[in-house]
């Protein structure tokens, strides 16, 4: 039984030990027990495509050789943020040498509509109105990409401008039209708790958006087949949805469309729905011309057209006591959603789900405000609103610490979720696995947080322009799609008669190592080396009705589906072997040396071939659905998450007060990946996720001019972190011996999105450095992104003191 005196980590460890002991009983070796094959699941293995990546042999959509009759597509884009189209003269476009045809909304005979949530507000090509600057108006189909691009700029479009709403401030001023319903979560009585709290503060946090900047831009190649068939190679995270959208636009049943993805050159959420635009237009061009058609967006077009991470303005009002305990929280989270709903509903929901980050709010009210604007339709991006919500929680903790004079780490530790009490979230889910406090405490010890903080304060007393800061922040990230039905997955595993194995599943590979982990699961179960297990391109023709590879769920869902398929085949082989060699099923074991049948060792290929001769099926599907979860948005109650992933980061920065420039001196991260499926790959996810998160909060800035034109639409103007921006000292560790309490794939935890949130430590370290300007008397109220300009503004405000801050303190 669970001992309440023990920590969750200790309990989980005890469980794992008990399991290991059970497995060690002689004669009771379970047929599916872990084997020792090198590189199998729960050990490190190199990325299955690494040898291809480094040699330039890994194929992406644009690298697929084209037949000579292929055509290329380029797009004509709106130059206005909001306007009625008066006329569109495409004569010069059509006449450009090499142009085959030009497609407009009128050429879409069936559905000119690609809203992924069925909102009906997202025409593939603009009809009589444009809703943002960059909206696709028409598609040029030409013999060469060069001709298509040159022709596309020759259109003459007349507009009648309409009032444009560009940002959160304008949207609120103009009545706050929403792209979807607002969500409210309440527990207890926040208003009363705030009114009766000994201390209270209110403020506002503005937090910027983020361009995905996947290195491979959006691309799709469509091959028309016989009888209306369409095969699409797409750089998509969601092949099933892309399949459905293509069929929808072409007006054909789903069974005529096959979508295939070998790999993406990065996705980060940006190819979940946004890939559909490109795939549908390529398919439309292929259907119209009867020729293979490719659309690969130029980087600038890609950034002008596709949605980004939502920027938020978060208003918070919080009551607390002198010891820093939060008593009541009231927050409104307003997001710029862009011109259409896209995924803004679930994104803003997830912001609310994470507006507590790792902290218990006794009485709480949270509201989302998904605002419609005349900008790109913001979409999924690693964390999916969660990081923005967590940013609000961390701002609140930091500011409480500031006004009470406590170390922010102490305030954080005092407010983390308990295990048996103080463990109910604002959405009424009981947190059963909270380890945020332990992770923070362990990290603080290992990186010497408290001593360094004191030294930094000392240093800042005598340094005129260079100021240092340090912060330690946790993450608790909910794992599962909040749309419950997405929490299912399928796999298809074939064993061939030579004993080689092919693994297919519904997840897509975008660099995160999902395919590697799936191979490792089959390796571990069958006891096979890597070269006997082959992963194939993801295709809707093999595994149908899949979910997006998103929400960090790829390995959790597909891993269990692969395991189910593999075990079905294993069970058949076990039954067969037990009968053939007259042993008990428990005496058949799959090991790295071969299949142990009683006292004999049978090579896997021999067993497989014998099973084939005996007419045993060597192929199986596998299916998985996440247990325990439920969510009702109408009541704001449920258990939307199967479990939480945890971690903590400590960042130390130096800030130059003359220019606002800054640098990460040292970052330490301790992260919970459960019993990691592949520790090396998971550490890679943490390192990369952290740097991406730090980039979001520091240098990455989206800038729209007053006419609504995005001016940061290429890497020359939009700056993601470069090599020298990584922390000078960068220590990343996994929590050890901490199996997932829930029955996930080999007790691992999802690792895609949670580490992104660690970037918040950098924002708070910069804030800590800035607080020194006014000798820690004025709260910096630093917004994100903390660009050099933003930092210098805060520094100048603190220097002059008494300036109007973003946060007003009421006591």
């Amino acid at each position: 039984m669970v001992d309440p005196q023990k920590t969750v980590a200790q309990q989980a460890q005890a469980q794992a030990q008990a399991q290991a002991q059970a497995q060690a009983q002689p004669g009771a070796v379970p047929p599916h027990g872990p084997t020792l094959v090198a590189g199998g699941a729960s050990s490190s293995l190199r990325h299955e495509s690494a040898h291809l990546h480094v040699a330039g042999e890994a194929r992406y959509v644009d690298d697929v050789p084209l037949p000579p009759n292929a055509v290329h597509v380029a797009l004509g884009l709106s130059s206005r943020a909001h306007a009625r189209i008066l006329s569109m003269d495409l004569g010069a476009v059509q006449a450009y040498p090499g142009v085959v045809c030009v497609l407009t909304a009128h050429d879409i005979a069936h559905h000119n509509q690609i809203s992924s949530v069925g909102a009906g507000d997202e025409p593939l090509l603009a009809e009589d109105h444009v809703f943002f600057c960059g909206q696709p108006l028409f598609a040029v189909v030409a013999q060469t990409r060069h001709a298509a691009r040159h022709a596309a700029v020759l259109a003459k479009v007349e507009y009648a401008d309409l009032p444009a709403v560009l940002n959160i401030e304008q949207a609120r001023a103009q009545g706050s039209a929403l792209v979807c319903r607002s969500l409210e979560m309440t527990r207890g009585n926040a208003v009363q708790a705030l009114a009766s709290a000994p201390r209270r503060l209110a403020g506002q946090l503005a937090i910027g958006g983020q361009e995905h900047f996947y290195l491979e831009g959006q691309a799709a190649l469509a091959w028309p087949g016989e009888d209306g068939e369409m095969r699409v190679c797409s750089s998509t995270q969601h092949p099933t949805e892309t399949q459905h959208m293509v069929a929808h636009v072409l007006g054909c049943p789903n069974n005529l469309v096959t979508v295939e993805v070998r790999r993406m050159g990065g996705g980060f959420g940006g190819k979940e729905t946004q890939a559909n635009i490109v795939a549908c237009l390529a398919a439309l061009a292929a259907a119209r011309t009867g020729r293979p058609a490719k659309l690969r967006l130029d980087r600038d077009d890609d950034m002008m057209i596709t949605g980004k991470r939502h920027d938020f303005v978060i208003d918070y009002d919080v009551g607390f006591d002198e010891q820093g305990h939060v008593l009541g929280v009231d927050m409104e989270l307003a997001a710029r959603c862009g011109w259409s709903a896209d995924l803004s509903g679930p994104v803003t929901d997830r912001a609310l789900f994470h507006a507590d980050n790792a902290y218990y709010y006794p009485d709480v009210r949270l509201r989302s405000m998904p605002l419609r604007t005349n900008t790109q339709s913001n979409t999924a991006f690693r964390g999916f609103g969660g990081p923005q919500g967590a940013a609000a929680a961390e701002r609140v903790m930091d500011e409480i610490a500031f006004v009470t004079g406590l170390d922010p780490l102490d305030v954080r530790l005092r407010n983390v979720y308990g295990i048996t009490e103080r463990n109910i979230t604002p959405y009424h889910m009981t947190v059963e696995d909270s380890i945020a406090g332990e992770v923070m405490t362990q990290l603080a010890q290992e990186c010497d947080y408290r001593k360094r903080r004191a030294q930094i304060r000392e240093f800042n007393k005598t340094s005129p322009h260079m100021r240092r800061g340090i912060a330690l922040t946790p993450v608790k990230f909910g794992i599962s799609f909040t749309a419950t039905h997405f929490n299912q997955a399928g796999a298809l595993v074939h064993v061939y008669t030579d004993g080689s194995v092919q693994v297919n599943h519904g997840g897509t590979e975008m660099g995160q190592g999902l395919h590697t982990k799936m191979v490792q699961i089959a390796m571990r179960e069958f006891g096979l080396p890597q070269d006997r297990v082959r992963i194939t391109a993801t295709t809707t023709g093999k595994v149908p009705n899949t979910s997006a590879t998103a929400a960090s769920s790829g390995a959790d869902l597909n891993g269990m589906a692969v395991l189910a398929a593999v075990r079905t085949i294993k069970d058949r082989l076990i039954t067969f072997a037990a009968t053939k060699w007259q042993v008990l099923p428990e005496q058949v074991r799959f090991t790295a040396e071969g299949v142990g049948v009683g006292d004999t060792l049978v090579p896997f290929a021999t067993l497989v071939n014998a099973a084939y001769m005996a007419r045993i099926s060597l192929s199986s599907t596998g299916f998985y659905k996440t247990p325990k979860i439920s969510w009702d948005a109408a009541t704001g109650r449920g258990r939307p998450f199967y479990y939480f992933a945890y971690g903590a980061a400590c960042a130390e920065v130096v800030v130059d007060l003359l220019t606002g420039e800054n640098r990460m001196e040292r970052v330490d991260i301790l992260h919970d990946a459960g019993l990691s499926l592949n520790p090396d790959i998971d550490i890679g996810q943490i390192e990369g996720g952290f740097v991406q998160g730090a980039g979001w909060l520091t240098m990455e800035e989206l800038f729209w001019d007053p006419s609504g034109r995005l001016r940061t639409h290429a890497p020359s103007t939009y700056k993601i972190p470069a090599c020298s921006d990584r922390p000078r000292i960068f220590n990343v560790k996994l929590m050890e011996n901490l199996p997932n309490r829930e029955e996930t794939i080999f007790r691992s935890k999802a690792v895609g999105e949670p580490p992104f949130v660690h970037g918040l430590a950098v924002l708070h370290a910069i804030s800590d450095a800035l607080a020194s300007v006014d000798d820690y008397r004025t709260y910096p109220g630093l917004n994100a992104p903390a660009t050099p300009e933003q930092i210098l503004r805060v520094a100048e405000r603190l220097r002059s003191k008494g300036g109007v801050g973003h946060a007003q303190v009421h006591t």
């Binding site: 050159g265 660099g511 606002g660 390192e687």
Partner: protein
């Protein structure tokens, strides 16, 4: 006169005569050579996914330079040896040590940027001073510099840096396989050098590759409408982004006599129009040590390997980093039109945004940078949103000449990013001259800066930020002077405080 170009790709000799002038190397490789390993990430020279290696004989020795294929034009390869990611494996198919280290250290995730990284890393691994790369802070700086032009969105760079160190250690011990082919490749390239002017003609237009400055002068005088292209890091974007067609290109870097970079007996540094930033770097650093940290942040390694110092002046960008530095140093620009030569002070060359003191058919032959006078205090500060490979929000380049008593005798304060052209802050200079370096003097100069400039607001920075930083950089200069250390010891570039713990 030759009417074709010749170059090697891997071990294959290509001889081309019919080539659209603006055909980029990336399009040629991917669309015509089925070399899909070289990726297009941005098509503007910023992400590095298309990085390839160009080998050339420099002073007779084979030197490898990483360049961005997306903004490199095919004709630029005349006489060169090109290596793409498909060419760096050993003859036996074995991965290059860099490739192997990238595999072993999990240096690739999505893999799309990886070929570009591999090529930048191979370029670094061919360096003779590889052994120094390991461990030291300087080593990390060299790696950062070599990889500043390669963006990765997945890994956070840490495993790539680990791979680079591992590969460097391996190559230092066992040798670098491409360097081992130097004698053979050198001989091969010698065979391609004939010193002839080349004229390429195609239905789309022509390219003139003059062998000498005289040939260049004559070709440009005959067709002043032609576009001069040196490194192409700017003109490349006219092609890839503005979709411009260039019916007549005249190359600058093929004129061998424009490649001189040397210090004259009077101490002045001459940089010919064909000299890249990479080639000029050691000379510039020796000449203007205070500019070293900024010079290495101009563009990226790939950009500096192609871009010329004089091209950076000639394109007259208000945010180019070279011009304010050279202006503060009192540089003079040497112009030529046909047979005529003319010399203008650099600051007089820039008239207003988009307008320079240059006539049709006239071109830059070189820039002459005088030595800093004894007693000068020099500060050069680049401020940008991102540390590496970013266009400056503000660049301040300052030279103060001090009398023995510390009084400021002369002041040259040049700024980029503050106006439509790079220019001097004359009012602030006036506020300094004749004054002691006191707080009052600083405040007066800072106030004058606000009078000197009315900067723009754009996506890089607001007018407020530019004006504030422009003034704050003077404070930095005063700090520097006060410590008597003429280096940028106060900037983040040189921030040496190592974190505790």
């Amino acid at each position: 006169m030759r009417q074709h170009i010749s170059f090697y790709v891997g071990d294959t000799l290509h001889t081309l005569s019919n080539l659209p002038p603006e055909m980029t190397l990336l399009d040629w490789l991917r669309d015509q050579q089925n070399r899909a390993g070289t990726k297009e990430g941005c098509n503007e020279g910023d992400c590095g996914a298309c990085t390839v290696l160009v080998g050339r004989l420099e002073q007779g020795a084979l030197v490898w330079r990483a360049v961005n294929a997306c903004i490199h034009m095919v004709w630029m390869l005349d006489g060169a040896q090109l290596l793409t990611v498909e060419d760096v494996r050993g003859a036996d198919g074995q991965l290059h040590p860099v490739q192997q280290a990238m595999v072993d250290e999990h240096g690739s995730q999505c893999g799309f940027c990886t070929p570009g990284f591999v090529m930048s890393m191979v370029a670094l691994s061919t360096r003779a001073d590889l052994a120094e790369l390991e461990g030291t802070l300087d080593g990390e700086r060299i790696i950062n510099e070599a990889l500043a032009g390669n963006l990765c969105r997945c890994t956070g760079y840490a495993p790539i840096v680990r791979a680079m160190k591992k590969a460097a250690a391996y190559c230092a011990e066992h040798g670098e396989p491409i360097s081992a082919r130097t004698p053979e490749l050198t001989a091969r390239l010698r065979g391609l050098q004939d010193g002839k002017t080349v004229e390429l003609r195609s239905p789309e237009g022509r390219v003139t590759l003059p062998a000498s400055v005289d040939a260049l002068a004559s070709a440009y005088a005959q067709d002043p409408a032609a576009v001069l292209v040196a490194g192409g890091t700017d003109v490349g974007l006219w092609v890839t982004k503005r979709l411009r067609q260039l019916p007549h290109i005249i190359a600058v870097r093929t004129a061998q006599d424009l490649h001189k970079v040397h210090t004259r007996p009077d101490g002045a540094l001459w940089i010919g129009a064909g000299v890249t930033y990479t080639e000029a770097m050691p000379h510039l650093v020796a000449h203007l040590p205070a500019a070293a940290d900024t010079l290495r942040r101009i563009g990226s390694t790939q950009v500096r390997n192609a871009a010329t110092v004089c091209g950076n002046i000639g394109n007259a960008s208000p945010i180019g980093d070279g011009p304010p530095i050279f202006m503060a140093a009192g540089a003079q620009l040497h112009l030529r039109c046909g047979p005529e030569h003319r010399v203008v002070p650099l600051e007089a060359f820039f008239l207003e945004y988009g307008k320079q003191d240059i006539r049709p058919g006239e071109f830059i032959e070189g820039v002459l940078i005088p030595p800093l006078a004894q007693g000068s205090v020099c500060g050069v500060y680049k401020v940008s949103k991102r540390f590496d490979q970013d266009i400056s929000a503000v660049l301040g380049a300052f030279v103060l000449l001090l009398a023995e008593d510390g009084t400021i005798e002369q002041a040259r304060l040049a700024y980029g990013g503050m106006a439509g052209i790079p220019c001097r802050a004359k009012k602030a200079e006036a506020a300094l001259v004749g004054q002691a370096r006191t707080q009052a003097t600083l405040l007066a100069a800072q106030a004058a800066i606000k009078e000197d400039f009315t900067p723009l607001s754009d996506m890089r920075a607001s007018a407020w930020y530019r004006a504030t930083v422009a003034a704050n950089l003077l404070a930095r200069l005063f700090d520097t002077g006060a410590t008597g250390n003429p280096s940028n010891s106060q900037t983040l570039e040189n921030w040496q405080e190592v974190a505790h713990g």
